[in-house]
């Protein structure tokens, strides 16, 4: 276990303790418009923006997706380095044992591979790492879009209401004709 894992464990235990304390909290006054920028800033944390806007089911979903996404990045970063080390080791060993033949080395994931095939697996691992970053970006953008939409939705309901009313005025002139005037105010 290296120092990065220890840092992650300490961070997550700290988060768990603060979350499990069950203390009431309020992010925004209900009678004031919600700040889009604050909501988006909060959404950098897993589920933060959705907790800020009060959409807890979205918070749970996006928190799960973001934590999984960050783990996927870390996992595939390690996997990329791992495949790279296998490739370099196989290349060196092939050169040392029998440089005239393409030897088949036992792949820890099963089967046998030549140095060239180890190279392909190394490239694939790099693609997985890239894809995990792209997927995380997509999750973050989607989460921000939902947060932004929810903020708009909340603020729309919190706009001051303009009360409209109608005023009918009924008058009669000398010839006995009745006039009706309608005034609408908003």
């Amino acid at each position: 276990m290296n120092y990065r894992i220890i840092y992650i464990i300490i961070f997550l235990i700290f988060c768990a303790q603060t979350s499990f304390a069950q203390q009431p909290f309020t992010f925004a006054k209900t009678d004031e418009p919600v700040s889009v920028w604050k909501a988006l800033a909060c959404d950098i944390l897993p589920g933060g923006g959705h907790i800020y806007t009060g959409y807890y089911e979205y918070a749970a979903i996006f928190a799960g997706l973001k934590i999984s996404g960050v783990y996927a990045i870390y996992y595939y970063y390690n996997y990329w380095h791992y495949r790279g080390s296998l490739y370099r080791s196989a290349k060196k060993a092939n050169q040392a044992i029998d440089p005239e033949h393409d030897l088949l080395f036992k792949d820890p994931e099963g089967g046998y591979k030549t140095v060239k095939e180890f190279g392909y697996a190394y490239d694939r691992a790099a693609h997985y790492f890239t894809l995990s970053i792209v997927a995380n970006a997509a999750i973050y953008v989607t989460s921000w879009l939902f947060t932004w939409y929810h903020v708009q939705d909340i603020n729309e309901n919190r706009q001051p209401t303009y009360v409209g009313f109608n005023n009918f005025t009924v008058t009669t002139d000398k010839q006995g004709t009745m006039w009706v005037a309608c005034t609408m105010r908003w």
């Binding site: 894992i5 768990a16 996992y75 390690n78 380095h81 080390s85 296998l86 005239e100 033949h101």
Partner: protein, 159 residues
């Protein structure tokens, strides 16, 4: 569920997640013959000779002299014999890997295809009737994982 149990579950989940990670191997990881398919490489057939008659090459070679074997099994029962042929002298190959290149590979026979203990072993190769010129021929052994060094190269001429 109190905080301690939740913390334990969280810790176990993290341990499971980190346990799935791959640690890079060191550069000497594959410098171990047990991780190479086939282990030690076999030795090639010996005493190759050929005769050419009407675009048919009759190749003779020996494998039961004791010189052709797989060091991992100590015998030649599991060996295959690969035949390579070229119209140019392989001595002029710029890369020794070309001795084992697919473009010169003709085919293979297995030790078990022949009667046990009988030498020389004979195979025939039909050459296209449109070809006229030199032919160079060599063989290797294969144990299912590794290929031997090439045998001596023999040559002939198709008139």
């Amino acid at each position: 569920m109190n905080l301690n149990i939740k913390s334990i579950i969280l810790f176990l989940a993290i341990a499971l997640a980190t346990g799935c990670l791959h640690e890079p191997v060191d550069e000497e990881y594959y410098n171990d013959i047990s991780k190479v398919k086939g282990g030690q490489k076999p030795t090639p057939p010996v005493n190759l000779s050929m005769t050419i008659y009407s675009h048919v090459i009759t190749l003779r070679f020996e494998t039961d002299t004791g010189a052709t074997y797989d060091p991992d099994t100590g015998s030649n029962e599991n060996l295959y014999y690969l035949v390579y042929i070229s119209a140019t002298d392989p001595a002029n190959f710029t890369d020794p890997k070309l001795y084992y290149d697919i473009r010169y590979y003709v085919g293979y026979v297995a030790e078990t295809d022949f009667e046990e203990g009988i030498d020389p072993k004979i195979v025939t190769i039909q050459i296209s009737s449109s070809y006229h010129g030199p032919v160079y021929l060599w063989m290797t052994s294969h144990d299912g994982g590794r290929e031997s060094d090439h045998s001596t190269v023999i040559s002939g001429y198709i008139p």
